[in-house]
Symmetry: C2
């Protein structure tokens, strides 16, 4: 939210930004930093007169917020979001906002595990992918404007079916987050006085960086993309069990062949994306 | 290996460094870069006249190498290593080198997923931990000299029992590597034309960075630390299954409580170590 507001303001793409939220301190700080012009705790008041409304709260709050703001949206308002789950969420918002404002689902692949305006960074969109998820009900003017906005702040946009989006992100994002959470929990469980964190190096730190992501955001993502995430977790559980069995059974050749194949896949990614 | 040679040369801690290895191109490049003074493919020749021998190959090769160099070591030579597994490895090397050279197990917690002299970096030891694993058979002058060496290149040393070392590193290093390998394999399996790597962001990249680590090195580590690694994997498998079940069963409150606890643990680590 804060990052997008700053990116838009930096480029003169907006006249006025109204922040809507619960945390008074964070909103006051956002005004001080010039990220937003004013704020309110009341969504209905916040959207009054707005030409663009961006939902940037945990994805499970989108439906109740849409219900609340719906009577107060002006006729040509566009509502978009930055949520990590699309499928059912997009369809629910389309139903709720039908006849009120035009909804377009967006998901910028940017941002980190930190939240709050102090962590906002307008440069996160530079060269980042932003997925737009139009449906047969999406209005043409609205998706064109939303796509132009993301491109203006630096994103490379791509349009995907909402359910395909959810299948893709279950694999490349929701699964890795669940894995990082489980890894932090497992290492904690094994501590038993070993003072493990004194011995963890860069490998553990990188592998679990996203394990510091906010609990409410990720509860919503996991539950709203339940089927795809659970399916991805089952595939992962098979892979980790296969590695564990090869270790337990001392099957060195099988294990090395497996690791070699994996290492090649991961190195190919580094060559494309760096890092 | 290369990183340590450079760190020692930069500080004038050594007169001459002889590189021993199989890869001709890598060894020639190491001479060009001034990392080593000369090289040989023959371990017996490489250790002749050496006061310090550092084993920096995959940990499974230590035993055969020790057998090969043993008759050629000079009386007061010290042999150490940079291997990630200690327990059985240390005891086997002590047995093999008994009456020949003094062995001291070392494990500097530094270095990354890349190998070869081009990836060497003498600064990786700055402030890094280095674990030394003395046993009742370790000779005093040898551990003191090896410890002084690691401290001279910038490490903070700590002494641990070899088996305690292996238990700790099964949790904080060997488990995270197995997890990263399984994650790369799972995402690859789910691709099926979705072109997933085009959508993976920084989360997946960080979580799997160590998934590009060399297959031969990690086969050896997993097999030589088999019991502790398999035990750590079983704990992890319980944690990931618990998260998956909460997602499948839509248990939002349990899931959020779990994630909140995990996120606090991981944030506490960031406050201590950064990142």
């Amino acid at each position: 939210g804060g990052s997008l507001a700053r990116a838009m303001k930096d480029r003169g793409l907006v006249d006025e930004v109204v922040g809507v939220g619960r945390g008074e301190a964070n909103l006051k700080r956002a005004v001080e930093m010039g990220v937003i012009d004013e704020f309110t705790h009341d969504p209905a008041e916040g959207v009054r007169g707005a030409t663009l409304v961006v939902l940037a709260t945990p994805v499970g709050t989108f439906e109740p917020i849409a219900r609340e703001i719906r009577p107060h949206l002006q006729a040509e308002a566009i509502v978009t979001d930055v949520g990590s789950v699309k499928g059912g969420v997009v369809h629910a918002l389309e139903d709720l906002l039908e006849g009120s404002a035009a909804f377009v689902g967006s998901h910028p692949i940017a941002g980190g595990e930190k939240s709050g305006v102090e962590a906002s960074d307008p440069s996160i969109f530079d060269g980042a992918r932003c997925v737009l998820t139009p449906t047969p009900r999406t209005r043409g003017f609205a998706i064109d404007r939303v796509e132009a906005l993301w491109q203006a702040v630096g994103c490379r946009t791509v349009r995907l079916d909402p359910d395909v989006h959810d299948k893709i992100f279950a694999a490349v994002s929701h699964l890795p987050h669940a894995v990082a959470f489980a890894l932090v929990a497992a290492v904690e469980r094994m501590d038993g006085g070993l003072d493990l964190r004194n011995f963890s190096g860069g490998g553990y730190r990188d592998a679990t960086r996203i394990g510091a992501s906010p609990a409410d955001v990720w509860r919503d993502i996991f539950l709203l993309n339940r089927e795809h995430t659970a399916a991805a977790l089952r595939v992962f559980e098979e892979e980790i069990a296969a590695i564990r069995r090869e270790i337990e059974e001392g099957r060195g050749e099988d294990l090395e062949a497996r690791l070699l194949r994996i290492c090649r896949i991961r190195r190919a990614l580094s060559q494309i994306q760096g890092g």
